[in-house]
Amino acid sequence: MSRHFSETQHPAIQPTPIGRRTLLQRTGFGLGAFALTDLFQADHSRAVAKERRHLRSPHFAPVAKNVIYVHMVGAPSHLDLFDHKPVLQQREGQDCPQELFESGKFAFVRKLPKLLGTAQEKKYQFRRCGESGLMLSNLLPHLQQVADEMCVVKSLHTDEFNHGPAQMFMLSGFGRFGRPSIGSWLSYGLGSENQNLPAFVVLVTGNVLGAGSAAWGSGFLPSQHQGVEFRTQGDAVLFLSNPAGIESNSRRQIIDTVNQLNQQQLADVADPEIATRIQQYELAYRMQTSVPELMDITSEPDHIHQMYGTQPGKTHFANNCLLARRLVERGVRFVQLFDQGWDAHGSVFGNLANKTQQVDQPIAALIKDLKQRGLLEQTLVVWSAEFGRTPFAQGDFTSEASRKKLGRDHHKDAFCVWMAGGGVRGGFSFGQTDELGYKIVQDPVHVHDFNATLLHQLGLDHTKLTFRYQGRQYRLTDIAGQVVRPLLARV
């Protein structure tokens, strides 16, 4: 059964079992009672019926229900982590082939550079892992243990070669601001399974990425679909706690008053953004209870903390991985983690050793933990970045000291991402680059293809998940994209 979202209007005024307008008009002054009964009563049948109203049917039976999407901000060197290139190591220090260099566009390197292979030390070398024999860098000892769960795409390519545009392109299918990000499309397409939390939650370590909060923006979709950033220190959401002297009953009545007045306004002008605001105030009220409980990771047992390497009370990638699991357990559709600091124009190997040490254990623990809880099958874990790094060096080879500072420039023509769980083939690598890792020689996967595949696993046809805006239908994959079926465990 397929359903064309394209046929419908704005979701706020779409027909649901009870039209949302009718619902609001009928309940009118008793809106607040909805939230209260949910919080204080165990009236399951009503709660379930209410949740159904917020859920939408996918186009076909989904394999995955949730996504945990980890974006490595700045772009890690895939050549030193996932795409093993022994020939590049042998040819280190030689000039980059002229025709290759001239075929590309780079952020910094202007003169013909020299090739740079993965460092020779043992800790940087690759190893065949698991039963599948997937090649992974020794910088990722914990991920090496879950290699049989990983589906590595070695032939991804993108259209943008600078961070901000490439981040937007990867996450919204468009290199500039204004389009909804993947999580927003999923919130719009599938709705939320937990009425007490947003459908799309964002957790950030390090500085916010160059694209800014537009990377989790809802673009032209109703703003209820935008990602909500949870901070890991202080209030998880700004102003989540009530101010001094405002108790919960006052807050409840203030929100009721605001919603009643907004409701009259909605009845007058029928702007769907007012409906969104009414819902968001209700959600915010419920989040005053649900979010502190969610964010309290100290309730987790010791062995879980050891497994992830969490540091409660601090902002740490491991904490965010554990929170991601807790969010998915609670039915949050799309959890987006951003981790800053991978942009190694200099000292690429020092940077990699440092950064992989921060993320390797937590992300491997996340996969193991989801698996032991039976959640991995329905949760698609994605490791992604805005692009890859060049096979040639940025910097010069003249002295021992300068060699240590060599980095890699941005590379858009070939890079790696990987997925785990969510019905993708584990212990599998797809696509191939040339012996230098410069160009794709087999099975290229464009960003649109990758995003189409992601939607497919959640039961959505990327050509049908559309929204009409400025006179035409828009989609995450623009007018391109094909599901990459070889990546799927069940086609």
């Binding site: 001094a244 002297g245 007045l261 907004n262 306004q265 605001r277």
Partner: protein
Amino acid sequence: MIRLIWKWHWQWLIVFCAKLTRQPTAQADQDCLRFALQLAVSRKPADQEIAVLQKLLQDERKRLTDNPQLVDQRIGTHATGYQIKSADRTELAAWTAVTNALLNLDETIHY
């Protein structure tokens, strides 16, 4: 998300208005609420809207009279430096809730 916009000078203006009326009679409340809502949304308020706000104001007054510690908590953190008579403190605290609602209306934020 809830945008808690605490624009205190607005609230002071409204409290000033409340003080002008001396006694919080129902009619004075309605006049102040009318003034406040008009200040927020730049149009003449409807009677029904005033009724909704008046209910909040009355309930808040009762809540604060029953729990006087809330008055100090609300005012203590924000109104330091101002000399306020104790009778006015409860009024200020009650109007804090009302103006919080007014400033978070879609119409206030959006138009």
